[in-house]
């Protein structure tokens, strides 16, 4: 087990290194000049040249990349070109908000998704099942921006149950978590439904029924625990999905997370910030997958880590 974790960690480090390289090269190839962006409109050619020179943007790609890695190895992610603040500080100030939002979105999508999945499976092919599946289909297909604005308008502006965007109290969490979680809830409800139907048809369920166990007990003790297994592994993969979702959701709700930071940095080609956010997001995805893989055998002893 220890060796397995070590090997996976080593692989993860390699993946992250690859991601830094690809991102760096892509940013280098973009036909736009970061020095120009920093210098602004009225800057003279000399000012732009001076900025380019000081930031080392004239050096060949591999010199720049090497320098970046060397600093990174020493724990220095550099300073934002535009804000001039340490990238590590910028990310540290915003990461907790994003992680909290993701956590509450995971809870939201599991609660909603699994509940719908169970109910739909137990009422298979009845009107309840059909309407729930239509709901899940809509929640998968609707753009998060639209859902976010809609929820805000109805529940925050019209009904005034929740604040209109912002961050701080528990009430602030509800609408963004719902917006971010609905997409996953749609997926999970469909997966849970088919997983449940699958388990409901298994021999041990029939045996349980034959034993005369109450239906509720069969479902809670035997069906759900077995049906939920394949779902757990998905949560790790979900983190990648969330990383793209938070860019939109954070912008709608004024959530001070790294999604907003990334979006603003991309618009202005703030390379150190883009690199930093990309790395942190990639690390979150890699770690999420690793945790899911590690958790699988704990939940289902039939799965072994190799």
């Amino acid at each position: 087990m220890g060796a397995y974790i070590l090997r996976r960690l080593f692989e993860s480090a390699l993946i992250l290194l690859g991601i830094t390289f690809v991102t760096f090269v892509l940013l280098y190839l973009v036909p736009a000049d970061p020095a120009r962006q920093i210098a602004g409109r009225s800057a003279t050619a000399e000012t732009v040249a001076n900025i380019r020179d000081q930031l080392g943007l004239n050096d060949p790609l591999f010199v720049q990349y090497g320098r970046y890695l060397w600093n990174l190895a020493q724990g220095d992610m550099g300073r934002s070109y535009l804000q001039r603040a340490e990238v590590a500080d910028l990310i540290a100030a915003r990461l907790p908000a994003s992680l909290l939002l993701m956590l509450s979105a995971i809870v939201t999508e599991l609660v909603i998704g699994l509940t719908i999945g169970v109910v739909a499976a137990l009422r298979r092919n009845r009107p309840v099942d059909h309407s729930l599946m239509i709901f899940s289909f809509v929640s998968i297909s609707a753009p998060q921006f639209v859902i976010g604005i809609l929820l805000l308008y109805v529940f925050a502006v019209k009904l005034a149950w929740f604040p209109i965007g912002g961050y701080g109290t528990a009430a602030h969490f509800v609408l963004p978590s719902l917006t971010l979680g609905l997409l996953g809830a749609g997926w999970y409800s469909r997966m849970m439904r088919s997983s449940m139907i699958d388990v409901l048809g298994q021999d041990f369920v029939r045996t349980a029924r034959a034993k005369g166990l109450a239906k509720l007990r069969i479902v809670t003790r035997h069906v759900i625990p077995n049906a939920i297994l394949p779902i757990i592994a998905m949560i790790g993969i979900d983190i990648g999905l969330f990383m793209s979702g938070i860019v939109v959701v954070e912008s709608v709700f004024g959530w001070p997370g790294i999604g907003q930071l990334a979006w603003q940095a991309i618009q202005r080609i703030d390379i150190p910030v883009i690199m930093g956010v990309t790395m942190v997001s990639a690390a979150a995805i890699v770690i999420g997958n690793l945790l899911a893989d590690l958790a699988a055998p704990l939940i289902d002893p039939r799965i072994k880590t190799k």
Partner: protein, 541 residues
């Protein structure tokens, strides 16, 4: 909705006694205001901040030697008590006011002026505004990293600083009013280092009390501000991270006072058609022109007849209608609010028939194919489509290249990349209210260099010489002559037709019932969205 004409106000301010006609001296003091923004504030360092969001924030945190009468483009002294110009226009002597202090309590001296100007022009500071100070003697050497400072800036005594220029420049008063010329305390800059933009210490009407990244900034009234009774508000809170649509919802529910990013295009008609909201919208001019550049070094736009034909082919009224009349059609580079604007100029009238004929006479009876570069943010691609349609009317096939802002700017900075560019979303808003600001970087030879902003690559040396001449008119009685010289320069440029001026954007500022003040303060030409120092709370007192 109320309209405010900048030019009218500026003239009124000049003629009115006291020149403060539009600022209510009796406005109540106290209360607070909430302003929302989508993007986080990049920096509050006056030497570095250069976007429209932090521009007016920095104006409230810092002061320069000169500034503007609130709501106008009229220069006034700020930290300076007096500003004397020598006969030859080369020596500017500034005397500081008495008892002016930084937010940290220390008195401001002439040494601080020298330090601040040397800091912004020091290549190590990487200031985007360094180039504005190129007229100060010794700039070239110091900005190239040589010498011990700006030789042209001399401290005479604690209260007096003498700035020598290498050439007379009528815009110097405006340059000293730019944020880049703000006076900063050396000890605070040195203590904060690169983080000075997060921990700004100035001498402005407000001081930064709190900054939670991505969430909010709080400005608090600076008790020892050098102007009595300013600012009106005790506190301004900037709420960060809200999408403009959501910001509008917040305003409608009474949680905020000013949507800093303006009224979103999609909600514009809804707001304007609702009397309850539209009466709180103030409309004003902007020092902005939207134009199409025609690359004068690329065929067929190297032919002036072709450029004129294109000028006559564009239906500007329709484009203005398309953006819900949030602009007025333009026929010259300068916007109407700018001194030097030619009121009676008619420009190239819309006449596709004549344009087609002109194109045929120029040797293109069947038109030609070209490319139109545009920034990919609404409404610019839609405007490009309208232009494309107008061009097809005269047989010109333009392929639209819709790209990210940085990529369009990069293409415009190359001599042979972009035959046509629609400037929307990128250029040009004046840095200061002087006609020269629409020339140098975007129409002068100095801007027609790789990486420059003269995307038409228009370089007329005769006009360049006249521009230099006009800027050398620094004498007291020469103001009108200078304005006339600039007016003629732009009209002559239009004879060469390097641009198609399309429209001048109007500003529409929406505010809550909670804030009040003269309309001019809500469309202040140098403070966007509003003049934070002078608007007041209607709930105060």
């Amino acid at each position: 909705m109320k309209r405010t004409l900048l030019t009218g106000i500026a003239t009124a301010a000049l003629t009115a006694t006291g020149a403060l006609a539009q600022v209510d001296q009796n406005a109540p003091q106290g209360g607070e205001m909430v302003v929302t923004y989508q993007d986080d504030v990049a920096t509050l360092d006056p030497a570095i901040g250069y976007d429209w969001q932090n521009w007016s924030m920095i104006k409230s945190l810092f002061d320069g030697l000169t500034g503007y009468e609130p709501g106008t483009t009229t220069l006034r002294n700020e930290l300076a008590e007096s500003h004397e110009i020598s006969e030859d226009g080369l020596t500017h002597t500034f005397t500081l006011k008495d008892g002016i202090v930084f937010h940290n309590g220390r008195e401001i001296t002439a040494e601080d002026v020298k330090y601040s100007l040397e800091r912004v022009t020091n290549p190590g500071t990487r200031s985007p505004g360094a180039g504005f100070f190129s007229m100060i003697e010794g700039f070239d050497a110091w900005n190239a990293g040589e010498g011990e400072g700006l030789s042209g800036v001399e401290v005479i005594d604690d209260k007096t600083v003498e700035i020598t220029l290498s050439r007379p420049d009528a815009t110097f008063g405006h340059v000293m009013a730019l944020n880049f010329a703000s006076i900063v305390p050396r000890e605070a800059v040195e203590e904060s280092g690169e983080d000075f933009g997060r921990e700004p210490v100035g001498s402005g009407a407000f001081r930064l009390a709190e900054w939670t990244p991505g969430q909010q900034l709080v400005f608090e009234r600076f008790e020892d501000y050098h102007r009595e009774g300013v600012p009106k508000l005790d506190q301004v809170t900037f709420s960060i991270g809200l999408d403009p649509t959501v910001a509008l919802l917040r305003l409608q529910s009474g949680e905020t006072d000013i949507p800093g990013d303006g009224i979103p295009p999609a909600q514009f008609l809804q707001v304007m058609n609702d009397p309850a909201q539209s009466e709180r919208v103030v409309e004003g001019g902007q020092l902005q022109t939207g134009y199409i550049t025609l690359n004068t070094q690329m065929a067929p736009f190297d032919n002036v007849e072709v450029r004129k034909a294109v000028n006559m082919a564009i239906n500007k009224d329709r484009i203005v209608q398309m953006i819900n009349n949030r602009a007025v059609p333009a026929n010259q580079p300068l916007p109407p609010s700018m001194p030097g604007y030619a009121e009676d100029h008619e420009g190239y009238a819309y006449d596709p028939e004549a344009a087609r004929q002109m194109l045929a006479d120029a040797g293109y009876p069947d038109g030609f194919e070209t490319e139109l570069f545009v920034m990919n943010v609404d409404p610019n691609p839609r405007i490009a489509q309208a232009i494309q349609q107008d061009l097809s009317e005269i047989g010109v096939t333009a392929e639209i290249r819709s790209l990210a802002q940085a990529n369009v700017i990069a293409a415009g900075g190359e001599a042979d990349q972009a035959p046509m560019i629609w400037s929307g979303g990128m250029a040009w808003i004046a840095d200061f209210p002087d006609p020269s600001n629409f020339y140098g970087p975007i129409l002068g030879c100095a801007g027609a260099v790789p990486g420059g902003w003269n995307w038409a690559w228009y370089c007329n040396e005769e006009i360049d010489a006249r521009a230099a001449e006009a800027d050398a008119m620094t004498g007291e009685g020469q103001q009108d002559a200078r304005e006339e010289a600039w007016r003629q320069i732009y009209l002559d440029i239009m004879e060469d037709a390097p641009w198609v001026p399309v429209f001048n954007e109007q500003r529409f500022t929406l505010h809550s019932e909670g804030v009040g003040g003269d309309d001019a303060l809500f469309v202040d030409p140098v403070h966007i969205p509003v003049n934070y120092d002078y608007v007041h709370s209607t709930e105060a007192r």
